[in-house]
């Protein structure tokens, strides 16, 4: 599953550690999500959507076009 987490994070000039703190997860989790090695749980995806002010479908894409 592709995602735009890295782009959205960069737009806000946040480090991975800063985003991890805001989402109460580890920096490794953010790194694994950004590199596509790990797909987040639904609650974490929803928290990301709320934090970035976007719908979950705008951040994550099953078809790989995000």
């Amino acid at each position: 599953m592709k995602n735009r987490v890295k782009v959205l994070r960069a737009e806000r000039d946040w480090s991975q550690a800063e985003l991890a703190d805001r989402l109460s997860v580890s920096r490794q989790t953010i790194n694994s999500i950004e590199t596509g090695k790990y797909d987040p749980s639904l609650p974490l995806a929803l928290k990301m959507g709320r934090l970035f002010g976007r719908a979950v479908e705008e951040i994550f894409d099953l078809d790989g076009a995000a």
Binding site: S26, S32, P40
Partner: protein
Amino acid sequence: MVTKSATQPVPIVARPFFWGAAWFIAWFGARIALESPAVPTWGRVIAALAPTPIAAAALLTIVRAARELDELEQRIQLEALAVAFVLAVLLLMTLGLLELAVTLNRDDWSYRHVWAMLPAMYFLGLTFARRRYA
């Protein structure tokens, strides 16, 4: 390991390491007591059962700590335990079949030795899982 509440201090009695160490000490003490011929039977039974409540406390703190882990860390720990479990079953199965095929020296190769290899199997699984998500 990263926890959801990594910034909050955890009391030492709530740490899995504390109870894990207490469990090991209780087991070691029980082994010493059980190997002593001077200890009466009732004392040997108490020594054999003594580590059980400490193990229960360790289990409780480990499960609580696992629930507090970050979701990726939970996945990594699950995969590490899955690898350790499958390797342990494989080793038990292989030892069982080999014992049917040939006579094994029980001092070198027996079911008693498998539990001692579990930590190594767990850390092997942990290494694989961490590399996968690194």
